[in-house]
């Protein structure tokens, strides 16, 4: 009981109130003490109960949500919900916990609750997304064997330029295309791939070993070109900054 957060909803539109009720019911620590359609209706409840958090719409019949909250002493913890982005400024003037724009997705609601809990220095809620849609990993399309083939970036080990074609070595197979290596370099995400030689582009996350002269990928030793040493080191550093788990 001590840990639960007593909250009320002030909202004049029923579906909007229903949505908040649904979200509140999904979060165990939240305890809904009442739902009201205007500030004046909520006053009695506020006087008789200890309310930790108020969800209020801004555009309400009679007194606005902002004015209502302003009239309360001491200032309560409030999360504003509104359809109107321009009210946001007003809301933050009042030291609102958060400001939710309608329609409110559950993840956003959860974020607001966590923001409140952080203020209250309690244990944060797990952001367990209901169903995280599995995202297709990034890929590129290249022309190989007179047709366009899809290659996942994560599968690529390195690119090697031959006389008048380019070999793409992936974990699965080797593709031959007629793109120039410079053209390919331009199209690849620069945080993930680096040109280390006139004839080689490598996937940074696939690098297994590295010294100033060469790198090793998938048991293959690839030399670092005389003019590419600086850019290679820099690219590896940048990658490490962005992906702290990456070590060489």
């Amino acid at each position: 009981m001590n840990n639960s957060i007593n909250c009320i909803i002030i909202e004049d539109e029923k579906p909007a109130a229903d949505l908040l009720q649904l979200y509140i019911s999904r979060i165990e620590v939240l305890n809904l003490a009442g739902t009201f359609t205007s500030g004046t209706q909520a006053i009695r409840c506020l006087n008789t109960h200890k309310i930790d958090l108020i969800f209020t719409d801004i555009n309400l019949p009679g007194i606005s949500g902002v004015d209502f909250i302003r009239s309360l002493t001491p200032a309560p913890n409030v999360i504003f919900t509104t359809a109107h982005a321009q009210y946001a400024v007003d809301g933050f003037d009042l030291d609102a916990v958060d400001f939710l724009l309608k329609p409110i997705p559950f993840e956003r609601f959860l974020k607001a609750i966590n923001r409140f809990i952080k203020l209250d220095s309690k244990q944060l809620l797990e952001t367990n997304k209901p169903e995280a849609p599995e995202k297709e990993p990034p890929f590129i399309f290249v022309k190989s064997d007179k047709k366009m083939v899809k290659i996942y970036l994560d599968d690529i080990l390195y690119f090697e330029s031959q006389k008048n074609y380019l070999l793409i070595t992936t974990t699965k197979e080797v593709y031959k295309t007629y793109h120039s290596i410079s053209e390919m370099e331009e199209k690849l995400p620069e945080s993930m791939f680096v040109r280390i030689h006139r004839s080689f582009i490598v996937s940074i996350p696939k690098i297994e070993k590295f010294n100033s002269n060469e790198i090793e990928i998938n048991k293959t030793i690839i030399p670092i070109g005389r003019h590419y040493g600086g850019t290679t080191t820099q690219a590896l550093k940048n990658y490490q900054l962005m992906h702290p788990t990456f070590h060489l």
């Binding site: 229903d18 309608k102 329609p103």
Partner: protein, 353 residues
């Protein structure tokens, strides 16, 4: 609404007609019972340039500069000596030319002799009264018209403001209702509603801002891509890759969006085979690099690059904005071959100190 009677005659013609009528009228009146037309007209015509000058000074200089600018007392103060001065000139012309050569039967009197002097003043006053009244009336009509126009424009502007205030609020409340109603029964529909709302908000509220957080722009790109995916039932193959930290970085809105939109516009699913779009955005320190490539439709190549009817104007507009806002701080390369269309954009992000 009062329309100004727009005389097709110019100001000069109006003056000319006035003076011709004036000379005719007074010529005939003064010719009198003896039908002395020659002398009557001669005396009117001789006095004409002086009178015309007087009227011109009063109407074009004093009315315009003083009366219409609310300097009424100054106008009156200058008008009195002016009309006295011209009465003197009239008297001098009378004595020197008219009574000398034409109306010789009349007796000359001293220049400032009271009764002919007063007669001259009255005549000058008469000459100026009609044009004065007409001009005053015309000016009053013009002011009326202008104030009405201004009031009308003000109402228009207010209406526009009202419209902008009312609509978004209403629309987002309705969308919220729709979201609430579909969340349990059809979560997929609810997601579409949420993304649609987010995009709509972007286009309504961010259109007037000059910089938005990169995080937001990326969120809108994601919303847009997700909506396009459901629209075409995932027939397009879309790769969206972001690397780097967008926190606390800002950029001009709608630039990335414009290129992404363009890529979708030109790689709609078609009967020729795969349709795909690859988007990669990387943020390294203050630099953002966006690489956007889309499949080209064989036979339609060239359409996207050279301003076709669709998208061309938008793309030109984006290029102009890039040059204007980022100048040296950006690189834009667009290339096309028969398989694909590729946009390379690198620009310097702003950050909050």
């Amino acid at each position: 609404m009062i329309a100004i009677p727009r005389s097709r005659l110019g100001k000069k013609s109006v003056y000319a007609i006035y003076w011709i009528l004036y000379v005719l009228l007074f010529g005939f009146i003064q010719a009198g019972p003896f039908h002395d037309y020659r002398n009557a007209f001669a005396s009117e015509i001789i006095s004409l340039p002086m009178r015309a000058l007087f009227v011109a000074i009063v109407l074009e200089v004093m009315m315009e500069r003083l009366l219409f600018r609310n300097k009424i007392w100054l106008f009156i103060l200058l008008y009195i000596p002016l009309i006295l001065l011209f009465a003197v000139i009239q008297r001098w012309i009378d004595n020197t030319f008219i009574l000398e050569y034409f109306l010789t039967q009349w007796q000359k009197e001293p220049l400032l002799s009271i009764s002919p002097f007063i007669y001259s003043i009255i005549k000058l006053q008469f000459v100026v009264t009609i044009p004065f009244s007409v001009k005053l009336f015309y000016n009053w009509m013009r002011e009326q018209h202008r104030s009405m126009r201004m009031a009308e424009e003000k109402t228009q502007a207010e209406l526009l403001i009202l419209r902008n205030q009312f609509h978004p609020h209403f629309i987002f409340n309705v969308l919220n209702t729709l979201y609430a109603k579909t969340l349990v029964t059809s979560p997929e529909s609810a997601e579409i509603v949420a993304r649609m709302s987010s995009l709509l908000r972007f286009s309504i509220y961010e259109i007037n801002t000059t910089r938005i957080p990169l995080e937001k722009e990326i969120k809108y790109l994601e919303d847009y891509i997700a909506l396009q995916k459901v629209r075409f039932d995932h027939h397009q193959q879309i790769s969206f890759h972001i690397d780097g930290n967008p926190d606390n970085k800002f950029l001009e809105p709608f630039i990335l969006m414009a290129f992404v939109e363009n890529s979708f516009k030109h790689s709609m699913p078609n009967e020729y085979g795969d349709s795909w779009i690859t988007i990669s955005i990387s943020i390294q320190q203050e630099w953002l690099t966006a690489k956007i490539e889309n499949s080209a439709v064989p036979g339609h190549s060239g359409h996207q690059l050279f301003n076709g009817h669709s998208g061309g104007v938008g793309l030109e507009n984006v290029k102009r904005r890039l040059n204007l806002i980022y100048g040296e701080n950006h690189t834009l390369k667009i290339s096309q071959n028969e398989d694909s269309y590729f946009v390379y954009l690198k620009l310097k992000l702003e950050s909050n100190e």
